[in-house]
């Protein structure tokens, strides 16, 4: 199996989906000749031509709105929004049409499309280039939202999202784009949307993270085992909506303690929802209150200070020790 970065793995998934289904088409700003600002769509214009790889005008609302129409026609558009911070321009079309068209048309016009967007902090970018607003999409009926954490899950989840009959918001942790390589099989590989993965088994504490936060969480889990004798069960959430309540509840029922790591602002966040589900389904197993290491309810800091905002392994370790100590 070849080793590849997340960017290469995403490119592979797009290429294979386009190869096997001529309804799949890409659209977005600078995705054609330029291959995307992060190069995720590199070489696809040359391979599939201008009818399937559309370099669009600079208008996010226009990209998502026209993609919805293309999906209504029976194509499977995969629009890219250059940075998730710019999805706000498209919120209109996401909420009015992308999420609702199947329902409004009583099933006549399903919207099988994937909105890809790089999200999250840690790349020393300018304003509006570092947000994690996945909670918006989880809060919008009609959408699905998934976030891979590494090259292999990125490839498999993107294939699953493209094959899905409903609209999927696909958030790509851009801090992970080229951070490390993983083995990715040549043959198309998929993954069930709505299923989390146990990345590490453990008995003392359940830790839940997704996307770029899986790295500090995994590092913290290693140190907690090696230095503090705390055996962490780490869950890679992968699917924000629908969410794998069962895997979370089973794990928390076993460990009795839970810590959630996210870079998004706290209030009404995905972490809040996880806590609510644990409350509903595993309250009687809890030994300690569920805690979260989270971003704050502030505008994402300018990049000279972002390292203090983002959850890091040390902060996760301290929070984990607190949860385990609680009696």
């Amino acid at each position: 199996m070849p080793q590849m970065t997340m960017v290469q793995a995403l490119n592979l998934a797009l290429d294979q989906s386009m190869e096997s289904d001529d309804r799949v088409c890409l659209m977005g700003e600078d995705i054609g000749v330029n291959g995307g600002v992060f190069r995720v769509t590199q070489n696809l214009l040359e391979k599939y031509g201008e009818d399937r790889v559309l370099d669009t005008p600079l208008a996010e609302c226009g990209i998502i709105g026209t993609a919805v129409g293309m999906a209504m026609y029976g194509l499977k558009p995969v629009p890219e929004i250059q940075f998730s911070g710019f999805t706000m321009q498209a919120f209109d079309q996401i909420e009015q049409n992308m999420a609702r068209m199947r329902n409004r048309s009583r099933g006549r016009y399903p919207i099988s499309m994937v909105m890809r967007a790089p999200y999250g902090g840690g790349i020393r970018a300018v304003e509006h280039h570092s947000e994690s607003r996945e909670a918006y999409w989880a809060h919008t009926p009609g959408l699905k939202c998934v976030i891979p954490s590494g090259p292999r899950s990125a490839r498999a989840l993107l294939k699953a999202a493209i094959d899905d009959p409903d609209p999927v918001v696909f958030y790509e942790p851009k801090a992970v784009y080229r951070a490390f390589k993983e083995e990715v099989p040549d043959e198309p590989e998929s993954m069930e949307i709505g299923k989390a993965k146990i990345a590490r088994e453990g008995s003392d504490l359940t830790m839940i993270a997704w996307g770029a936060m899986m790295r500090p969480a995994a590092e913290a889990a290693d140190d907690l085992a090696d230095l503090h004798g705390i055996d962490v069960e780490l869950i890679d959430l992968l699917s924000i909506k629908p969410m794998d309540t069962e895997t979370i509840v089973n794990s928390v029922s076993k460990t009795g303690r839970c810590l959630i790591v996210q870079e998004a602002p706290q209030t009404c966040s995905v972490a809040s929802e996880i806590i609510a589900r644990i409350n509903d389904n595993a309250f009687e197993y809890l030994i300690a209150p569920v805690r979260r290491v989270s971003g704050y309810d502030i505008i994402f800091p300018y990049f000279q200070t972002e390292q203090h905002y983002l959850p890091d392994p040390d902060t996760v370790i301290e929070a984990a020790k607190d949860v385990v100590k609680w009696e």
Partner: protein, 392 residues
């Protein structure tokens, strides 16, 4: 009574007054310092004037049967409008948007479409929807708040309207882009109002359609009002058709109360799209004779006299003069047709009443192809609530 005389108001090619833009050229350049950029011309079209006089040179010469069919559709639209208002006032109908006075704009824009073409309407569109095959009782169900009303009739590619102003125009453009990509000959008609033309999403739609040469016919129904805001306050230019020209879209301004003018413009726009030449914009100048919706009171913001002035321009009245002068239909026929339409609407109302049954257990349906487990749980809880309340 005028007979078929050529109207003085034949097609005039209006030079848009402010279209000259000057460009400053660097002084060292040999060329003149300032030159004029030609931004093209916008046609102004009227074939059947308000006195019912026709410009014979421009008459599309439709067959008698076609003319009768169009006339009946316009009458049906108006009678339906009136009946819906009565039903709303009697508490049988939800809030709805009357289209009184816009019958020619409505029927004309969809006239050249076939069943493979797409129609993506705004909510003030039941004239066009009826023409496309939506049923009277279906539209009643829709406006009375029943899901079944949104079921799209088999055999046409129509879209349900969206309530947020102008939000359907981008997907309509995407339909046209997809048709182009797939090499199909179908065209898309999408309509919206003078108010919607202020929306950024509509401007983006013009641009995408133009860049990709998508076969989209934008019908900008300038009916003078966006609830209480008059067209004069909506835009600083008087000709909304300029909106298209600015995006490189061939644009025409049509008397929207002239059914023949609307049909000719729509046909020309459809031909343009089918020939692979891209989008077209039709500004249909008409007037919203009635309320914005039944929840609105126009007396707050406009004078009765303004509305009266448009009564003389009634699209049905002038078309009936034309039909009478050509000896196709007479006053007795008009009365008979009106009564037949009313009878059909009353019959549909009975069907509507029989079908009007709320189905609270369907509210979770059609959200996803397959209901995710977390939603299933919520549905079960909701069903238990209905059970407790004894709701079917």
């Amino acid at each position: 009574m005028p007979t078929r005389t050529a109207s003085k108001r034949s097609t005039t090619t209006e030079k848009v007054a402010e279209r000259r833009v000057t460009e400053v050229v660097a002084p060292e350049n040999e060329r003149p310092m300032r030159k004029t950029i030609d931004l093209g011309e916008i046609e102004d079209l009227q074939i059947l004037n308000e006195e019912g006089e026709v410009d014979e040179a421009l008459d599309p010469n439709l067959s008698e049967d076609e003319l009768k069919k169009i006339h009946r559709a316009m009458v049906m639209t108006r009678k339906f409008d009136i009946r819906m208002l009565a039903m709303q006032r009697q508490g049988e109908m939800g809030t709805f948007a009357p289209g009184l006075g816009q019958e020619a704009t409505q029927i004309g824009q969809v006239y050249p479409l076939n069943s493979k073409d797409w129609f993506s309407p705004s909510y003030r569109s039941f004239g066009a929807q009826l023409w496309r095959g939506w049923t009277l009782d279906g539209l009643m169900l829709l406006w009375a708040g029943y899901y079944e009303g949104f079921e799209i009739p088999e055999g046409v590619n129509d879209t349900p309207f969206s309530i947020v102003i102008g939000s359907h125009v981008l997907p309509a453009t995407g339909l046209g882009m997809a048709a182009k990509i797939r090499g199909d000959k179908s065209v898309v008609v999408t309509n919206f109002g003078d108010g919607a033309s202020s929306q950024g999403a509509v401007a983006e739609a013009f641009n995408f359609a133009s860049v990709y040469k998508a076969p989209v016919i934008f019908v900008l129904e300038n009916n003078g009002w966006a609830i209480s805001i008059p067209a004069e306050k909506q835009a600083a230019v008087r000709e909304f058709a300029r909106r298209g020209a600015g995006f490189g879209i061939p644009s025409i301004r049509v008397d929207g109360n002239d059914i023949l003018g609307m049909i000719v413009a729509a046909q020309q726009a459809a031909d343009h799209g089918r020939a692979g030449k891209g989008p077209y914009l039709i500004e249909a100048v008409t007037y919203r004779m009635s309320y914005h919706t039944t929840a609105d009171d126009p007396k707050v913001y406009r004078k009765d006299d303004d509305v009266k002035a448009w009564e003389a321009k009634c699209p049905i009245r002038r078309f009936e003069i034309y039909l009478r002068n050509r000896g196709i239909l007479d006053d007795a026929d008009f009365e008979k047709i009106g009564k037949a339409c009313e009878a059909e609407i009353l019959e549909a109302r009975e069907k509507f009443r029989a079908r009007a049954k709320a189905k609270p257990r369907e509210v979770f349906d059609y959200l996803y192809a397959e209901m995710p487990p977390e939603l299933k749980e919520q549905q079960e809880e909701y069903f238990r609530k209905l059970d407790r309340k004894g709701v079917e």
